[in-house]
Symmetry: C2
Subunit: 154 residues, 2 copies
């Protein structure tokens, strides 16, 4: 399998609790292309419960968040391929996150997040995400992501 989008992040931007490969305690969200869409498969920890048997909404929001920013980076990279004067390995952060919880999400099966790139415009990318479990759509989300300036410092 090819590298995850998040594996292309530089070390100093790889400490995210959601998706950083260098965050030992983190969730290690990983995203990939699946044709024109993006996919993330995620199995929550048994502690990530809301009510017994179901996934906590904050963990679902976290998976949507990092799958969204990863998908945004991949979409921008693809759109910029071959262009000069633009960052070829951009890192996006979340400007806004919206999540609609349609059904309780079972904790004992894999969550599959499918991302659709809605808009790529300059430093902004919008990604819609459906979360399915065993083929049933349980949650829908939207991430508005903006590119982190290359020289950004705290």
């Amino acid at each position: 399998m090819s590298d995850a989008f998040q594996d292309a992040y530089p070390d100093e931007l790889s400490v995210c609790y959601g998706c950083g490969r260098l965050n030992e305690k983190g969730l290690h969200i990983k995203s990939y292309w699946d044709g024109e869409r993006t996919v993330c498969r995620f199995r929550p920890d048994p502690a990530h419960t809301a009510i017994a048997g179901f996934v906590y909404g904050g963990v679902i929001a976290s998976a949507i968040d990092c799958h969204g920013t990863g998908s945004a980076a991949a979409a921008a990279k693809r759109a910029r391929a071959g262009q000069s004067g633009v960052e070829q390995n951009p890192r996006f952060v979340t400007a806004s996150l919206h999540v609609d919880y349609l059904k309780p999400t079972p904790i004992d099966v894999e969550m599959v997040l499918l991302g659709t790139i809605v808009e790529v415009k300059g430093r902004k990318v919008v990604v819609d995400i459906e979360v399915t479990c065993s083929g049933v759509v349980c949650v829908k989300g939207r991430v508005v992501a903006v590119e982190l300036p290359k020289d950004w410092k705290p």
Copy 2:
């Protein structure tokens, strides 16, 4: 200090990763009245980082989520006081969550979440939440919460 809203949840509904007092690995979000508003003070774990020095958006969304549902339960309880034929200790779950990340949220200080009850209508409560750090509003969120039926079973 009086009990947190979440301390009134029955045991079987107290396993939430975000706010359940019986979830040993969880975040233990706690919410209280502060006049007409609700307040939650939360100190993230050092691992809850996004980029070094700043809080991960998924953890902020989690705090907003559980402070929102806790505030919804408290607001409904207050609105129903003295009424007969209605549940006096309701438990709410999240129907939708919206988060606007306005500024990077520093990880080395306490986050203060202030909730405003926007609407209490039957089984639905809407709560707006501002997240401040050292007096600066870093994040704004909205939770639409719906009451879990008393006889709800998976």
